[in-house]
């Protein structure tokens, strides 16, 4: 079995990360922002796993579990908030929800 070079994995992670960040910055809909965040988190997770493979250490996978847990918790809370937002304001557009501030 040929191993995937570390560079490739990191490159992929970087591309995913950039995509995710771009999504967070550009989307107006909360659902897409959230999905983009997931991509960012998974990109870092990928980087951890790849790095763990490279050094033959389990730490990378342990960190990935942490990231997963975090992502799960985050999604739970965020989805709950989204439901409330839809219920109260009838929209998921961030620029409209911004008025919540006042």
């Amino acid at each position: 079995m040929t191993t995937i070079p570390l560079e490739h994995a990191l490159m992929l992670a970087a591309i995913l990360f950039a995509l995710g960040v771009a999504g967070v910055l550009m989307r107006r809909n909360i659902v897409f922002v959230l999905m983009s965040l997931e991509i960012v988190l998974n990109a870092t997770g990928l980087a951890f796993v790849a790095a763990g493979m490279r050094w033959g250490e389990p730490d990378g996978q342990v960190m990935f579990v942490f990231v997963l847990t975090l992502a799960a918790a985050e999604v739970t809370v965020a989805l709950a908030l989204m439901l409330q937002a839809v219920k109260h304001y009838g929209t998921l557009d961030l620029d409209i929800l911004r008025r919540m501030r006042n």
């Binding site: 960040v21 910055l25 922002v33 961030l94 620029d95 911004r98 919540m100 501030r101």
Partner: protein
């Protein structure tokens, strides 16, 4: 003897303490007994001590009580020093003081706040005695400030009227200007000679300073500054006429007999320093001359009976300064003593007149009081005659004569000083008898007869006798002052005598024979202007108002907003501006926040990657 010496100032002090602490429980009679009694006892003690002192050959007595404060080479102790000069001053203060206290017990009997009056008066006597008996300059300064405080308290005794409060504050603040000069003089003395005790200072100064040394002149000038403030001499004389807002016995005791002459005492006490400072000493004479002329000139146009006497006091103290300036120390003290007698008498008499006229002060609304107030007229006449220096009969003649002769004999400017003194004497005689003729002669304005108990009559009668015969009392001062050789030209004596009589005759001509109404409305403009200028005391108040008071008030008002605080406000404003700027970043757009985070990370990463 040491114990007796301490008793003298402590008795009135005890009187003050009793009145201040326990006086509320005393009836009026009790207050009178404590108030006058403590000073009376002090007077008796002083008389006894004087007898012992003269018996023992007039050797100085030193009474130590203990240290006050000492730090490093500085020491100021509670020590009293009695010599020939201090004996005379003590006798005058306690003697005249007691008479005025006794007078007050009846004169002020209707006052609601009787106790406060006597408490202040007792405190004053204690402070004044401290001043003249102090062995060191710090203790002297204690008395010096103490009398100033009591003067303030008593001028403002009727404090419901803000005008009285203003007069009181004016007196305190103006004299304090002089006090600061005096204080600086004391510091300079201490720095140069390392000493505050008077006798070692006087002994040490001639060894340390050459005559006319710049520092010595400066010290003498600063001390003169203190004396000028306290004794209401030019240019700090403005407080005394206003000080007449106090009760008349207060004017008699503080603003005629004792406190205002403290400056004369101070210079006489420190005369060896002035002998080392010829310029400063000449300045003393010139200040005296200028003051006696200016004040006498201003007295000519006063209408308020007490203000006439106030300007007269300033003028008479000018004579004392003149004597000091020409080195006739003894003559200055002699005039101080006789002046204490006749001026106290005149103020008490004026108080009687004002009371009889139901608080009328304007002499042109009085007249003919000779018939309804014969007793008061008699003693007032004695006082006025002494003030006018009626030749050979009165005490005032002898003392003023000594001063004029000393001035004539002065090595420098003798003619000028003598001529000025004579012109002053002419004006003095004129304004004294202008007052007498206007108030006591002519048609009576009231038929009400005077009533006076013995506590009023006895002090007035005694002071009357002293005003006439006081010139015969010997004042031995030979151990304190060097001999002074005055001119004894008979011609000068006759000139002085003639001038006094001429002044009285002139007053009879203008105010006795004729009865001016005091109405100025139909006077020509120049005469009204002149009159007003004279009446205002030559406009000093207005000048000081423009030069000192207004700028000070304006500065204080302008600074009230605190310029310094503006700087602080600026710092606050800048911070608030920055805050507003950064607060705008928090606009609720989550994507902007995220962008911020990304940019921040990039900003941190780029240097790491590149460098």
């Amino acid at each position: 003897m040491e114990l007796l010496l301490w008793l003298i100032p402590l008795l009135p002090l005890a009187g003050f303490l009793v009145l201040a602490v326990a006086g509320a429980r005393l009836p009026k009679a009790g207050v009178a007994v404590v108030g006058a009694g403590s000073v009376g006892l002090a007077a008796l003690t002083a008389a006894l001590l004087a007898a012992l002192f003269y018996n023992a050959g007039s050797d100085p007595v030193i009474a130590r009580l203990g240290p006050w404060f000492r730090a490093g080479d500085l020491s100021a102790d509670f020590t009293l020093y009695l010599d020939q000069l201090a004996v005379i001053m003590t006798l005058v203060i306690t003697g005249v003081g007691f008479l005025i206290h006794a007078f007050s017990t009846e004169f002020m009997a209707d006052e609601a706040d009787y106790r406060r009056y006597f408490a202040y008066l007792n405190l004053f006597v204690a402070a004044m005695l401290m001043l003249v008996l102090a062995d060191n300059l710090v203790l002297l300064f204690l008395g010096w400030e103490g009398v100033g405080l009591c003067s303030y308290l008593l001028i403002g005794y009727w404090h419901r009227d803000p005008a009285n409060g203003y007069a009181a504050r004016k007196a305190f603040v103006v004299t304090r200007i002089g006090d600061v000069a005096l204080l600086l003089g004391l510091f300079l003395l201490f720095v140069e000679l390392g000493e505050f005790s008077i006798q070692p200072l006087l002994a040490g100064a001639p060894l340390y300073f050459e005559s006319g040394a710049a520092r010595m002149e400066l010290i003498a000038f600063l001390i003169l500054g203190g004396a000028v403030g306290k004794s209401a001499q030019l240019p700090l004389q403005v407080w005394l006429p206003d000080a007449m807002a106090g009760p008349s016995p207060v004017s008699a005791l503080i603003h005629a007999a004792t406190m205002v002459t403290a400056g004369v005492y101070l210079i006489a006490r420190l005369h060896p320093l002035f002998e080392l400072a010829p310029v400063a000493q000449m300045m003393v004479a010139l200040v005296g001359l200028a003051t006696l002329l200016v004040a006498a000139w201003a007295a000519l146009s006063q209408r308020d009976i007490k203000r006439i006497l106030a300007y007269s006091t300033i003028s008479q103290i000018g004579y004392m300064f003149l004597a000091l300036g020409v080195g006739a120390w003894g003559a200055a003290i002699f005039h101080l003593v006789t002046h204490a007698f006749f001026k106290a008498l005149l103020f008490l008499g004026a108080g009687r007149v004002i009371e009889h006229m139901h608080h009328e002060h304007d002499i042109f609304r009085m007249g003919g009081l000779r018939r309804v107030m014969p007793f008061t007229f008699g003693v007032f006449l004695a006082g006025a005659a002494s003030l006018a220096a009626v030749p050979w009969l009165t005490a005032g003649f002898y003392s003023k004569d000594q001063i004029l002769l000393a001035a004539a004999g002065a090595p420098e400017l003798g003619t000028l000083l003598f001529a000025g003194g004579v012109i002053g004497a002419l004006m003095t005689a004129f304004y004294s008898f202008r007052l007498v003729f206007t108030v006591f002669f002519g048609e009576p304005v009231t038929q009400e007869r005077e009533h006076a108990g013995w506590r009023i009559q006895a002090p007035l009668a005694l002071l009357g006798v002293l005003s006439i015969a006081g010139g015969l009392i010997p004042l031995p001062l030979e151990q304190v002052f060097p001999d002074h050789h005055a001119s004894h030209a008979l011609g000068l004596v006759l000139l002085a005598a003639g001038v006094a009589l001429a002044g009285i005759a002139l007053a009879w001509w203008t105010h006795g024979r004729r009865r001016p109404t005091g109405e100025t409305a139909n006077w020509p403009l120049w005469r009204r202007g002149l009159d007003r200028w004279q009446a205002s005391g030559l406009g000093f108040d207005a000048v000081y108002g423009v030069l000192v008071e207004t700028p000070f008030n304006t500065t204080a008002r302008a600074l009230r907003g605190e310029i310094v605080d503006r700087a602080v406000a600026l710092v606050i404003a800048v911070n608030q501006g920055l805050n507003a700027l950064t607060a705008r970043l928090q606009n609720g757009r989550i994507r902007h926040y995220a962008l911020g985070v990304v940019l921040g990370v990039l900003a941190l990463l780029i240097p790491v990657v590149w460098l």
